[in-house]
């Protein structure tokens, strides 16, 4: 009996149909609604937008769509600045994550084999504790009379209290801290498989360790570098909690803008337009990530 007929008889197509339908209803349809609402006008009544679907009037439905909200996004340079600053903050954070994550992943990959699974577990463990709580912990550390200032003053390294909280530096610290497992794990996965004899051969042939690192280790770790960077960059662009709790009022980020359009200004169509804008920024990295990930899962032995 072939496998196909086994599965076909098992459920006659029900297995793919149920999750397919679920994601269609709760992921795809909501998405189309956001698109539709981003093109409609705000109404005074609750909920604050005009009716979504009126099947009796299909022509009117399409006629009512306009780009007014998107025009507003281009007219007010707040959104442009928020977009640029989100991408910049996410890119700098991703770079910092690579710089911090690579030595950790490298150390893990070179550790004796019997310790490796423990080290992996130790990297994952903080991920299981609440994201909000881990960010909250940094407030007490970074605030002007906080624990970092206390420690540095006790060591005599500084004489004035440090004021890092509510600055962009605090946002970087928060993102690097919260996303570190997402960077370390893919890097570790590729570095662990690396063949050390390549480095030895390079060394024997007179290459400097620095040069071997760039010509051998980095190219071989590339799949991990790409996966880890995308896994950090994509959610960082739309991050809300970290800039809101650690950043100052001048830390502009698009996720935060969407939140305030929705919760403070109650302008749902504009919030939807911001969501579409954010999605357009992320479409390319998301597609690349999906490809990388699908290939990785399917390539497993």
């Amino acid at each position: 009996m072939t496998e196909r007929s086994f599965m076909r008889r098992l459920t006659s197509g029900l297995v793919p149909a149920v999750p397919y339908l679920w994601l269609g209803v709760f992921f795809l349809v909501p998405f189309l609604i956001v698109l539709k609402i981003s093109l409609s006008d705000p109404a005074v009544a609750q909920p604050p937008y005009r009716p979504v679907f009126d099947w009796s009037d299909v022509a009117g439905f399409f006629g009512a769509l306009d780009l007014e909200n998107f025009e507003m996004l281009t007219q007010d340079d707040l959104y442009l600045r928020a977009t640029i600053s989100s991408v910049r903050i996410a890119a700098v954070s991703t770079l910092l994550l690579l710089l911090v994550g690579f030595p950790i992943a490298y150390g893990m990959a070179r550790a004796p084999e019997r310790y490796r699974s423990l080290l992996v577990a130790l990297v994952i463990l903080p991920f299981w504790t609440s994201f909000l709580i881990r960010i909250y912990a940094w407030i007490a550390i970074l605030k002007p009379e906080g624990l970092l200032t206390q420690a540095l003053m006790a060591l005599g390294l500084i004489s004035e209290p440090l004021d890092i909280l509510n600055t962009e530096a605090a946002v970087y610290i928060g993102i690097v801290y919260a996303y570190l497992p997402f960077m370390v794990l893919p890097l570790y996965a590729t570095l662990e498989k690396m063949d050390d004899t390549l480095l030895e051969a390079a060394l024997d042939l007179g290459s400097t360790p620095w040069r071997s690192f760039w010509t051998i280790t980095v190219p071989l770790a590339m799949p991990g570098i790409v996966a880890g960077s995308l896994l950090c960059f994509i959610p960082a662009v739309g991050e809300f909690v970290i800039p809101d709790l650690l950043g100052g009022s001048e830390t502009l980020m698009i996720g935060r803008q969407l939140w305030s359009e929705f919760f403070s200004n109650r302008d749902w169509p504009l919030a939807s337009a911001v969501a579409i804008l954010l999605l357009i920024i992320l479409v390319v990295p998301i597609v690349i990530y999906r490809d990388v990930e699908a290939r990785r899962v399917e390539a497993r032995p």
């Binding site: 496998e3 599965m7 297995v15 909501p30 950790i104 709580i133 007490a140 906080g146 994509i234």
Partner: protein
């Protein structure tokens, strides 16, 4: 293979893990602080834990969060396992590309977009915001994580076992329940736990979809944090960290034992 840790390797590991664990550790230590000032040590005390349990609103939010997490993780585990089976055992079915896209997209999609789009959907179908809208939203998000976890297990296990069972005349359903399911069970448990924690932890999607009468713990904590640090939040955080640590340790021990047992049976 001869691998040795250099001084650089050891230093980066020590600093890296200190960076990961120090903030959590400080938070737990300061939850036993007698002083109301969160960052000034005023002696050991458990008073904030008492205050926490007397805080009716916080306790209620915790109960709501727990129920949502249990329900949505259960739904997500069923849906995610089905999706993983679909992706690994069904070859090319119509719309497979769209399906893979829909599985991976919610995992990397910024939460603000997922939250907003689901909310607008619930408004469009006229479903009142509250307990059920959060549960549905969390199910949708977390089932994708379950899918990936279960899928990677389904891809690595020896498929000849399934074939052998069927060659010996086991009907497909029976083959699934007696061969496939026990083999992928650890990954299903891992997927459930992941879905459960993600739901317990989520602030953004829950905020968009919460209504009157359904406030979750993260929403509560977030609104308190915005007003300033509070020792009660420290105590609540320390309890959550304790639960997670215990859970992860026991899950590791259970899976280690089952690995040992299956190895013993194999010999």
């Amino acid at each position: 293979m001869n691998r040795r840790l250099s001084l650089f390797n050891v230093t980066s590991l020590v600093i890296g893990f200190a960076f990961l664990y120090l903030p959590i550790l400080l938070l737990v230590i300061y939850s036993f602080n007698a002083s109301r000032l969160v960052t000034v040590w005023g002696g050991f005390s458990t008073q904030w834990y008492g205050a926490l349990f007397r805080n009716q609103a916080l306790m209620e939010a915790a109960w709501v969060t727990l129920r949502i997490a249990l329900l949505s993780a259960t739904f997500a585990t069923i849906l995610g396992t089905l999706a993983a089976l679909a992706l690994t055992r069904y070859g090319r079915f119509p719309g497979r590309t769209l399906f893979t896209g829909m599985v991976y997209a919610p995992m990397v999609m910024p939460e603000v977009i997922t939250g907003l789009s689901l909310l607008l959907f619930f408004v469009a179908i006229d479903l009142d915001r509250g307990f059920w809208t959060i549960t549905l939203a969390h199910t949708t998000l977390t089932m994708c994580f379950v899918t990936v976890v279960v899928q990677s297990r389904l891809m690595t296990f020896d498929r000849s076992l399934e074939e052998a069972a069927m060659d010996l005349g086991a009907p497909p359903m029976r083959t699934f329940f007696t061969v496939t399911l026990p083999l992928i069970a650890p990954s299903i448990v891992a997927g459930f736990l992941l879905a459960f924690t993600l739901s317990m932890d989520d602030l953004v999607i829950a905020s968009f979809n919460a209504g009157p009468g359904a406030t979750t713990l993260p929403i509560k904590i977030y609104s308190q944090v915005r007003l300033g640090l509070s020792p009660e939040v420290n105590a609540a955080s320390a309890i959550l960290i304790g639960i997670v640590t215990l859970g992860v340790i026991s899950a590791t021990l259970i899976s280690k034992r089952s690995v040992l047992r299956s190895r013993r049976n194999a010999h």
